[in-house]
Amino acid sequence: MRRYFGRKLLIYILTFFLAVTIDWLIPRFMPGNPVQTMLSRAALRAEAVEVMYGYYTRAFGLDVPIWQQYLNFWNALFHGDLGTSVYMFPQPVTKVIMRAVPYDIFLLLPAILLSWYAGNHFGAFAARTKWLDNTILPVGYILTATPYMWLGILLAWVFGIVLGVFPIAGAYSFALRPHLSWTFIRSVLHHWFLPFASLFLVMFGGWAIGMRNMIIYELEADYSHYLEALGAPRRLVRKYAFRNAILPQITGLALQLGVIAAGALVTEVVFSYPGIGYLILAAIQNQDYFLIQGCFLFIIIGVLLANFAIDIAYVIVDPRTRLGMTGEAA
């Protein structure tokens, strides 16, 4: 057990190290100069630009040799310092990201968890239930096959513009300041519903179809046939099949949860929802390398944590991994 997790941990640390290095490299090898970009927008006089350029280069720590920059980067990283945003200067990147994260979690966590739960149960139920298999599953296929962008826009158009029952931009009414009151909470939920529903629908279809196919496969496994041969009722056979079919779905779930860190780019763009996805787009548009870097770092950590969670979850639910850890097989 200790060796298993030790080895895993080593792999995670290596991956983290590599990913962070690449993340550090990206802005430095990208065309364009962030400081220049920012200054050019300010439309200053030439001599002022020069002074400002020197000032900002120092402020961003770009005036030291590249290896020093790399070491400084790691040092700052361990102090939770991801630099300063260019696009929202002079706010620190960490603060900008932390402001966006709650929206991501609020939007994605319920969408992922609920769609996972409902989709899996529905898929398992639909498998080998003729009328459902023939009616509702095709709908699932259509849902997952639909380009998400298209579905999002369609929902926004129908409910936001044609029917006008839901707002289609922002996380709460622009007329409100965040505070704790029913009006504000209602506004937040109101703005949350469409992006949530669009994500839920698409993910639900995916989980349901995946589960249905897995169950059909498991029902043909030897252990299912044996149970049937011993006269086990359909309910028990299906329960066992579900237990085994859920394993790959747990992996899928954890991966999705890791991606929360990345936000839901398209959703957040379509509904102008201020999560990380929206932030990444803004950062790219503004060539805000430090913000991009910060966002990516955040995603790296999220994905690695999620993977680690999968490893642990598997050890708990699948005895085969637990045993593999003592042998060399793992």
Partner: protein
């Protein structure tokens, strides 16, 4: 009569047509009888076994009648068969190595299975443990997952599980083929022990390995390409077979009575016909050294001497002359 099968015909439905894997099987297995079922790979042994207990698509019930202890088995009805499965008729499947759910502890699985059949697990537990002792498994296996058991242990565990409800008939499909020679012997002897103790009344033991049947079977039934060829007591099948296929089969084995467990049913020229479009009449015709025009009709499976059944026109002629 424990088991009585009449005209049982079961096909596999495939996109290319019906695979005629079991054609008009008619035979009986007496109370207390251990009947060996042998034949080349693909001749329909597993099909016959599954037809009796778990007939699911792509298998298709064509016709036939099965009686067990004078009660008709509704083999074509998945739901109604449930009343008989496990309690009256049971199976150790050919895939016994993978028969147990990988993610449930064996004891837990057993208890869930029993409870689902309205059997009190607690009350059954002492008997279960007694039987584990008999097959030399520690009680700890109940707390283990299937992968923690060796192949032989899994085989014995499934054996105990399948027979826990004291069925009238147990079908053991290739229980030895995955094991080494010494565990083969142990497993086979345990099967006989189960019969002797009355855990099961009758047994059908399916195998390629006639030497095993020679050790334990009271009678042997030979199949060829979906048809029954011959059934008689073990001594008769080994020493005085009548069907040309059985004769070739026995002759192809090393000396009778000595160990020939390594030898499989090969060594006969030609290969069995495809069952998707089998030849008419006797399916052994193309390989049979004594085939004649009559063999274009299907030979019936007839008792030519007491407890000796054969399906061969040539033998019927000889019998008529004698």
């Amino acid at each position: 009569m424990s088991l009585q099968v009449e005209n049982l015909t079961v096909y596999y439905q495939t996109l290319r047509g019906d695979v005629q894997a079991l054609e008009s099987a008619t035979f009986t297995v007496a109370d207390g009888e251990i009947m060996g079922l042998a034949g080349e790979s693909g001749c329909g042994k597993t099909t016959l076994a599954h037809s009796l207990i778990r007939l699911t698509p792509p298998m298709r019930f064509v016709e036939g009648r099965v009686e067990l202890d004078d009660e008709e088995l509704p083999v074509w009805d998945m739901e109604r068969m449930n009343d008989f499965r496990f309690k009256k008729i049971s199976i150790i499947p050919q895939y016994a190595m993978n028969a147990m759910n990988p993610t449930r502890k064996i004891g837990k699985m057993t208890s869930e299975l029993l409870e689902s059949r309205k059997v009190d697990f607690k009350a059954t537990l002492p008997e279960l443990k007694r039987r584990l002792n008999l097959v030399e498994l520690s009680h700890d296996v109940l707390n283990m997952y299937p992968i923690e058991l060796s192949g032989g242990m899994k085989q014995r565990m499934v054996m105990v599980l399948s027979t826990l409800m004291n069925p009238s008939l147990l079908i053991a499909d290739e229980v030895t083929s995955a094991l080494d020679v010494s565990s083969q012997k142990a497993v086979v002897e345990m099967l006989v022990g189960f019969r002797d103790r009355g855990f099961v009344k009758s047994l059908i033991v399916i195998t390629h390995d006639i030497s095993i049947l020679y050790q334990i079977a009271d009678s042997i039934m030979i199949m060829y390409a979906g048809q029954l060829a011959e059934k008689a007591s073990t001594e008769v099948i080994i020493h005085a077979p009548r069907h040309p296929y059985t004769k070739l089969l026995i002759a192809s084995l090393p000396k009778v009575g000595v160990k020939y467990s390594e030898k499989r049913l090969t060594g006969i020229p030609g290969s069995p016909p495809l069952l998707l479009d089998p030849p008419i009449g006797c399916r052994f015709r193309e390989r049979c050294p004594v085939a004649f025009e009559k063999c274009l009709d299907v030979p019936p499976f007839i008792e030519i001497e007491k407890d000796h059944f054969v399906a061969c026109w040539k033998e019927f002629e000889k019998n008529a002359q004698a």
